[in-house]
């Protein structure tokens, strides 16, 4: 073998892999990178610590205004109402400062993306890294949450030195999945059915997009205008941050920028650890279940065990269901981000959103589970599993932190699921579109230890967001909104009740070529748990009406005064004021073409209740009844309320008597632990559940 040939082969084997696939070392990294010499020098150059506070405030202000700009100019309906983030990463790639609104858990899960670019592309002669380069990414195997979340990155330079990364992340509503429009590939059984997968790659130079590359992306999706608009929008927002960071460095110094980023990361990690240290040492567990794999009704399990010692909190997930060939798998880095989401949005919202949150915890995530899928598994609906994890995690964390002093208030779990329309087709304006609707942002808030939950407050992943107007939907899509109403008994009951959400009804109107889908859970097993004796939320089935005579029959019915229209799904099904077929089913339906005039009715879920419902202030329960938040059945059976039905006023004395009677009956009907377990415990799960994975839980007392 000649020297040249040997060198060629060595180069091929050692330095030229067939493909630069996801790097498990990078996606598995959750600690902060060690301080660099540059960061040490920058921190040493800051003599007045107040400057770091000023730096943080100024950077946050820049990010917030740029995010608002991105919301305005983006085409993604999700971005318009808050499903986005803008932030700055250190040069090494740790996400240092993010906007306080939007999906701030992106700050916990996108750091592997700039780290990948640093490791593989910066010194690669055919790619390289220079000021003005534009990078893009959506493949969740390389970092991030799921493929609809797209990240655009700009390296931030100052006088030839690469000092940081700027990122703009937006949930894009169409990804080119083979069967399902709207970004959520509900029918995918491999990752190859989930549409475009973009590893971290350069898509432009000198702040200019390569149109041939963008064109290739557009060619893979149903809504090429959405992609073009939003890549440009993200670039514009990132450039806005870049310009203002240049102003910052010119006015102050690049050292202050580098020092601020580093100090925010370190301070957040230190502060989270300090607060955790105040929690009582011990082991805390939570469990929750999902009731569909998206293609069939099967029960799967999410186990959480927290081991807390000193300032170390280890999150374990052993016993959770195994990864499967359905799109609800999630990667471990998203699982860690969901933990961070709870901490940054529901416990310590006073701290900056940074990668310091995930760095403050430890993780022992069992490989091969639905929470730690490998790179071949489909995962575009990983968020549905994350929501079920959130219910288990929330309960365990709340029990762990309850007795600790500090800013975090115990509360019941938020409603965490997305029973919202995903759609695609031809609009009434003859435009091709595919996206998701933002009713998902109308989730009911969990009850707090001292107050009821907020109605239709925001999704668990972006509490500062909006769900938009029905009229906006009608203007852009071939839809007629029939109602949005808060239904009775939609929330969790308790001493403090959860916030309710809304039931909506849309009819396809103005297009013959349009499809709806819904990708959610909670048709048989509720997705929201209660807290400390409070009850969880109700289930949220999907109702589909296909009127006889189609849209013409509906038009006639509406023009005639819509006799029998109750603005309520269950009574519409019971009364059937429009002749036709009525079907109530699981809130999981792939997006297929439907018939003009078809009506879909769906409700978002309510938040969990907190505390024993018998402790609810009778006047407050009476107010719930008057307002239609609860039905008379719930008022009687759950709150033991006694009232005058004519005057709709509570009888406080009779209520107290009824509650005392119920408390006594609880003691009579309750069984001792061993007796109960003997009658309760099953060695194997009921066959009809199609249960996935381990039924046993070795550490469970029962």
């Amino acid at each position: 073998m000649s020297t040249d040939t040997e060198a060629f082969l060595n180069d091929l084997l050692d330095n030229r892999p067939v493909m630069y696939g996801p790097d498990p070392e990078l996606t598995g990294e959750f600690r902060l990178r060690p301080r660099t010499d540059r960061e040490d020098a920058a921190l040493a150059a800051v003599t007045d610590p107040t400057d770091l506070t000023v730096g943080l405030s100024r950077i946050e202000a820049v990010l917030e205004s740029s995010m608002q700009m991105l919301q305005q100019i983006s085409a993604s309906s999700a971005a318009k109402w808050g499903d986005l983030i803008i932030g700055i990463y250190t040069r090494e790639g740790d996400f240092a400062i993010a906007t306080s609104g939007g999906v701030n858990m992106f700050s916990a899960t996108t750091s592997p993306v700039p780290k990948f670019i640093n490791r593989y592309w910066a010194d690669e002669p055919t790619v390289g890294l220079a000021e003005g380069d534009v990078f893009y990414h959506n493949d969740a195997n390389y970092g991030g949450t799921h493929n609809p979340d797209h990240t655009l990155l700009l390296p931030l330079y100052w006088e030839g030195e690469h000092v940081a990364w700027i990122g703009a992340v937006v949930h894009e509503g169409e990804n080119g999945a083979s069967l399902d429009p709207g970004g959520f590939a509900v029918r995918a059984t491999t990752k190859y059915g989930e549409g475009v997968r973009i590893p971290p790659m350069k898509i432009g130079e000198s702040h200019t997009l390569r149109r041939d590359v963008v064109n290739m992306f557009q060619n893979q999706v149903r809504d090429p205008l959405l992609w073009l608009t939003d890549i440009r929008a993200k670039l514009a927002a990132a450039r806005s941050v870049e310009r203002r960071m240049h102003d910052f460095m010119a006015e102050r110094s690049p050292e202050l920028l580098v020092a601020t980023l580093r100090s925010v990361l370190e301070n957040t990690e230190t502060e989270v650890r300090r607060r955790i240290a105040a929690w009582p040492d011990g082991t805390y567990r939570g469990v929750h279940f999902g009731d569909t794999t998206l293609l069939e009704e099967r029960l799967f399990k999410l186990n959480v065990e927290l081991d807390k010692r000193g300032d170390t909190l280890t999150v374990r997930t052993a016993g959770s269901s195994p990864a499967i060939d359905r799109a609800l798998n999630t990667q471990a880095h998203f699982t860690r981000a969901m933990v961070a989401n709870l901490f940054m949005n529901f416990l310590y919202g006073d701290l900056p959103r940074t990668a310091g949150f995930i760095a403050a915890l430890d993780y022992d995530l069992e490989p091969g589970s639905i929470l730690t899928a490998d790179t071949e598994h489909p995962s575009s609906l990983s968020l549905t599993t994350m929501f079920c994890l959130n219910a288990a995690l929330h309960q365990a964390v709340t029990k762990a932190m309850f007795s600790a002093p500090g800013p975090a208030k115990p509360m019941a779990p938020w409603y965490a699921m997305i029973p919202t329309l995903q759609y695609g087709g031809l609009t009434q304006h003859m435009q091709v579109t595919a996206n998701v609707s933002t009713e998902m942002n109308a989730a009911g808030g969990g009850a707090r230890c001292d107050a009821d939950g907020e109605h239709a407050a925001g999704p668990v992943f972006a509490p500062v967001s909006d769900w938009g107007e029905m009229e906006t939907r009608e203007a852009e899509l071939p839809l007629l909104g029939l109602w949005r109403e808060i239904p009775a008994d939609n929330h969790g009951f308790g001493r403090y009740r959860g916030g309710a959400s809304v039931e909506w009804a849309y009819m396809l109107y103005g297009s013959q070529m349009f499809g709806f889908g819904i990708t959610s859970m909670g048709g048989r097993f509720p997705v929201t748990a209660g807290m400390f004796g409070g009850y969880g939320g109700s289930c949220t089935p999907l109702t589909r009406i296909r009127p006889d005579g189609g849209v013409d029959a509906v038009r006639t019915w509406l023009a005639g005064g819509a006799k029998g229209l109750t603005y309520d799904g269950p009574s519409m099904v019971a009364d059937q004021p429009l002749p036709g077929s009525y079907e109530v089913g699981n809130p999981v339906q792939p997006a297929d073409p439907i018939v003009e005039g078809d009506i879909w009715i769906q409700r978002m879920g309510g938040g969990g209740g907190y505390g024993d419902p018998l402790e609810r202030d009778p006047q407050e329960a009476m107010t719930d009844l008057r307002r239609g938040l609860i039905s008379p059945e719930v008022a009687r059976a759950v709150y033991r309320l006694v009232w005058d039905p004519q005057r709709m006023e509570v009888d406080a004395r009779a209520t107290e008597t009824a509650r005392a009677t119920e408390r006594a009956e609880r003691i009579t009907r309750g069984r001792g632990y061993d007796e109960f377990v003997a009658g309760w415990r099953a060695d194997t799960p009921p066959e009809h559940l199609g249960f996935l994975g381990s039924w046993e839980w070795p550490d469970a007392a029962g």
Partner: protein, 107 residues
């Protein structure tokens, strides 16, 4: 200084006697070295009694009782509902809190 620490909305640990107590009525639930649930009264609740059904059959706003049960835990002293656990029928109950009592004593 109090020897009692409130651990949850309804549970207190007495560090002197190392025992769980009801926060509302002070009933001694049991030794804090073991699962507090062993000292409570349990009831298997059909979820339709709490979440009233609204649809004629099949999927409903009420959880399916063959998929989901609510295990209610009551204080034997006062009848307060301490926990309400949503589980598939027959699933092992959750041992949700194990406190390190030595560490708690040292706080």
């Amino acid at each position: 200084m109090s020897d009692r620490i409130r651990m949850t909305e309804y549970l207190v640990i007495d560090r002197t006697t190392r025992s769980w107590h009801c926060e509302r009525c002070d009933h001694r639930i049991g030794p804090a070295t073991q699962d507090y649930k062993r000292g409570l009264l349990l009831h298997d609740r059909d979820p339709r009694e709490i979440h009233p059904p609204r649809f004629p059959d099949g999927h409903d706003v009420a959880p399916d009782p063959t998929w989901c049960r609510i295990v209610e835990y009551y204080c034997p002293g006062c009848g307060t509902q301490v926990e309400a656990e949503y589980l598939p029928p027959g699933h092992p109950l959750v041992h949700d809190i194990e406190i390190d009592l030595d560490a708690l004593e040292a706080r």
